[in-house]
């Protein structure tokens, strides 16, 4: 049943092209011969979801299979949702416009905790039961993956199975099993039993959680001894040999990242102690420059994009960056294709690169010192000094840039008001660096932006035991900083502390917080990360009605021997290493990056990337 949305509806919603499909390189298949239909769902609007590289990779990878048809699904914006509900239009996939309730799989990518209510809303719009236990053989399997899946427990009652880690291999293994299961035509439970021993598969209903009297987790055990006790994430060892699409869907309307994204490497060598991505994506694995050039060429030919960006957690750490960018510029300049270089550490080398690469308006340069004093930067293992920063901005100001964005975090472990004062001082020093340059040698109109987010302790980081500051404390710190920033050249922005508080709850939540998600959704919570739709009061009511204390999850310091809700997940990086890193943080000791020295985190168990390369 193909759903045709009438013009009456489309003409009245904001950005109708979100719901149209048919973009260049979107894949349309004849249903004859298709055995598996997969709805790849991104629980946010089109422009956000379409910018996500993981979805691009898995969409094309699944569609390489002759037996599988993978389509995209995004969260309809509130105006469209209203029209859909009023007209009884179920959630449909963008390619075929078929309702996703008829599909074999509905897969969600979990990029941020505050998208969870959108998952519930999308299931409901699709007419799929929200709780896993209520689904029958007539319903699709609901699966999930992505960075937030490393603590799957808040969604344990909703998602049928999780895929841990990088999806390229595991998703094909699951599809193969599904094909066989479908032919055998046996029970739903039987399919889950068939995949439970694929490495990386986590089926929450096959695990039982015991709680201690104080509410902490006593243990998580498989209900049958055949099920794995630990679920290890998957990685692809050699990126050069791993599937990467040679075409991206080219949207009709502006999306957040509307360009070719070249993924240089996965993982990060740096080990900033607050950063989950820096640990869960280990070990660092690079693509070769040769392979990247080949991909860039094909992607450019197949998309017609006017811009290529190099994406990775810390692009300037790519070992062959000079050679790669030089070759890219040489090839792309005659075709009027720009190169953009995000998240660079700014030194004279990369400034030189940026000069060459971008016909940019010399406005925004971004730095993330994260903390205001050297003491606190050492605590978080951010190996950046004040001198580095001032040298970088001075070079940039001489190069004609006049806009600088500085990112910091408030509420980091051991933070004092002196550290916060340090943020304001760092801002002043950046202004002073600009003023110290002769007028004729610097760009016009200095513009320094200081932004603070609130520290959210995340699983699998050295700070997973830490308490988050209370909302009141965070607000007081924001006010304190605001009062200390005097220069008219500095603009100060801060993140909503209430949202960070909820993130902290669900980042380290257990199965008990799952009901709160559903309750909050029933109260109308969705699109929580979109300021205008964030309903904090309703969230707090939901906690109250479910008898769940959010502070227990967000604001409580854990002891090293506490069992975590995610302890049965194995990301390679071990708990003992993380404890050591936590202790080193309190001692203000830096830990060297993977390229300089191995600190024995445990990721070497995967036998790939930097762990097996020569240093």
């Amino acid at each position: 049943m193909k759903i045709k949305i009438s013009d009456q509806i489309l003409q009245r919603v904001e950005k109708p092209s979100r719901y149209i499909g048919n973009e260049w390189n979107s894949i349309h298949k004849d249903l004859k011969g298709i055995q598996i239909r997969f709805a790849f769902c991104f629980p946010d609007v089109y422009e956000v979801g379409m910018s996500h590289l993981g979805m691009k990779i898995l969409y094309h990878l699944l569609n390489e299979r002759d037996d599988t048809y993978c389509e995209r699904v995004f969260a309809p914006w509130v105006d469209m949702e209203q029209s859909m509900r009023a007209n009884k239009i179920p959630l449909f996939a963008l390619e075929s416009h078929d309702p996703i309730s008829q599909f074999d799989f509905v897969g969600f990518t979990l990029q941020y905790e505050m998208s969870y209510t959108n998952i519930i809303n999308m299931l409901d719009l699709a007419g799929i039961p929200i709780y896993s236990k209520d689904r029958t053989k007539d319903h699709p399997f609901v699966c999930a993956g992505g960075p937030c899946a490393y603590n799957p427990e808040p969604l344990a009652d909703i998602v049928d199975f999780f895929m841990m880690g990088e999806g390229e291999d595991i998703i094909n293994e699951v599809m193969d099993e599904y094909g066989l299961w479908k032919v055998d035509n046996v029970s739903r439970e039987d399919f889950l039993n068939r995949i439970v021993n694929i490495e990386g598969i986590y089926i929450p209903r096959f695990y039982k959680v015991d709680y201690n009297e104080d509410g902490t987790v006593g243990g998580i055990m498989p209900v049958k001894k055949e099920y794995p006790r630990k679920i290890r994430k998957r990685i692809v060892k050699e990126l050069d040999k791993t599937f990467f699409p040679d075409r991206f869907i080219v949207p009709f309307t502006d999306i957040v990242h509307d360009r070719i994204m070249l993924e240089l490497f996965r993982g990060c060598t740096r080990g900033c102690r607050f950063c989950q991505a820096g640990f869960v994506y280990r070990p660092v694995r690079e693509r070769s420059a040769g392979k990247l050039l080949e991909l860039a060429r094909k992607l450019e030919e197949n998309t017609g994009y006017e811009e290529i960006s190099l994406t990775s957690l810390s692009t300037s750490d790519y070992t062959d960056l000079g050679h790669l960018t030089e070759e890219l510029i040489k090839e792309m300049e005659p075709r009027k294709v720009n190169l953009s270089l995000p998240s660079l550490r700014i030194d004279s080398f990369s400034l030189d690169l940026m000069e060459k690469a971008q016909r940019v308006r010399k406005s925004g340069l971004t730095f993330a010192p994260e903390a205001g004093t050297q003491r606190l930067r050492n605590v978080i293992n951010k190996g950046v000094t004040e001198e580095d920063l001032i040298n970088s901005v001075t070079t940039a100001f001489y190069g004609g840039w006049s806009g600088v964005k500085l990112y910091f975090m408030l509420g980091l472990p051991t933070e004092t008001y002196e550290d916060i004062e340090g943020i304001a001082e760092l801002g002043s020093k950046v202004v002073a660096a600009y003023m110290g340059i002769p007028r004729e040698k610097r760009g016009k109109g200095l513009n320094v932006t200081i932004s603070t987010s609130s520290f959210v302790p995340k699983p699998f980081t050295p700070f997973q035991w830490e308490a988050q500051d209370s909302i009141e404390t965070l607000r007081e710190k924001q006010r304190y900083l605001k009062d200390r920033i005097k220069s008219r050249h500095i603009i100060y922005n801060w993140h909503d502390a209430e949202l960070s508080f909820l993130e902290a709850v669900f980042a380290r939540g257990d199965r008990k917080v799952g009901n709160v998600l559903v309750k909050a959704w029933e109260k109308g919570c969705k699109f929580d990360s979109w300021g205008e739709h964030f309903k904090f009061k309703e969230w707090m009511e939901a906690f109250d009605e479910c008898g769940v204390d959010p502070h227990f999850y967000a604001n409580r310091r854990r002891s090293y021997d506490e069992v975590f809700p995610w302890d049965h997940i194995d990301v390679g990086v071990g708990k003992r290493f993380l404890i050591r890193e936590n202790e080193r943080a309190y001692g203000g000791e830096l830990t060297s990056n993977c390229r300089a020295d191995c600190s024995g985190c445990g990721a070497a168990a995967f036998g790939g990337g930097i762990c097996v390369e020569q240093r």
């Binding site: 489309l10 092209s17 239009i89 017609g304």
Partner: protein, 276 residues
């Protein structure tokens, strides 16, 4: 410099793209198709292309035009073929010709014709409706309120209406699409192939598109002033009717059937040798 004018269609699939986004679609297609488009000089080079009258969001068209400046040699036929290989569904180049004169399409457009599919609030029958509407447009002056730059002005749209025709759906026996309309023919009225196809699909919609029966629909075909000197949107004559004692009309669909460019002697089709 080698200039080429193309004529292209914009189908249902791509009618919700804004004019600005459409230019991006073409810019990327030109790159995919290896069309040797010329770029402007300077810091931020732009492809040298000019589009005709912007099409409002939600409107389809069988007569869109663009002028391309090429930096290398490529015949119009080759350009059309290359571009069609890389354009998304719903966009198709249907004609391409070398342009010799310096005029650009955007600056020279003077008239546009449309078919507007409407649904009357009450239906006294097509004969009566036609009579009333045609009588209405015979008035010496038709004053409507037009909003521009936040101000509401009263303007006389009568001099901007060159032709206006009313036609009922049943008069054309909406049947299977009879083709021929897609690449020109500029057929107005309900007989237009695009309109026929649209009406045929209306009944299959989920939910049914308009709040009226297909049999109640009828068509206004109009040729209106267009371009930089005086531009009349097709919604305005419909709005003028509403409130004139004639049943209120809901616009169901707008389709552009043609554009004309002005020359010293007469108005011409943009692909006419005299306009190139």
């Amino acid at each position: 410099m080698n200039s080429v004018r193309i004529k292209f269609i914009r189908g249902e699939e791509v009618k919700y793209i804004s004019h600005l986004d459409l230019m991006k679609v073409f810019e990327r297609a030109l790159r995919r198709g290896n069309i040797p488009i010329a770029y402007s000089m300077g810091y931020n080079p732009h492809p040298q292309m000019v589009f005709g009258l912007p099409l409002p969001v939600g409107v389809t068209s069988e007569a869109e035009y663009a002028d391309f400046e090429l930096s290398g040699s490529m015949s119009p036929e080759e350009l059309m073929e290359s571009l069609n290989r890389v354009l998304p569904t719903g966009l198709e180049v249907v004609d391409a010709k070398t342009k010799k004169n310096k005029s650009n399409i955007m600056a020279s457009i003077v008239k546009a014709s449309y078919v507007v599919l409407v649904c009357p609030e009450t239906n006294p029958g097509i004969a009566i409706l036609r009579d009333e509407i045609e009588k209405f447009f015979l008035q010496p002056q038709i004053i409507v309120k037009k909003e521009s730059k936040g101000k509401i002005r009263e303007i006389d749209i009568k001099p901007m209406i060159y032709e206006l025709k009313v036609e009922g759906i049943d008069e054309n026996g909406i049947g299977p699409e009879d083709g021929g309309g897609q690449d020109g023919g500029n057929q107005g009225g309900c007989g237009n192939a695009w309109i026929k196809k649209y009406v045929n699909e209306l009944s299959g919609q989920y939910p049914m598109g308009a709040n009226c029966r297909v049999g109640d629909l009828f068509c206004l075909s109009a040729m209106l002033s267009a371009g930089s000197a005086a531009n009349l949107k097709p919604e305005l004559p419909v709005a003028a009717i509403n409130g004139a004692g004639i049943p209120k009309l809901d616009v169901v669909k707008i389709h552009r059937t043609g554009l004309l460019v002005g020359t010293e002697e007469k108005d011409l089709d943009p692909m006419d040798p005299g306009a190139l």
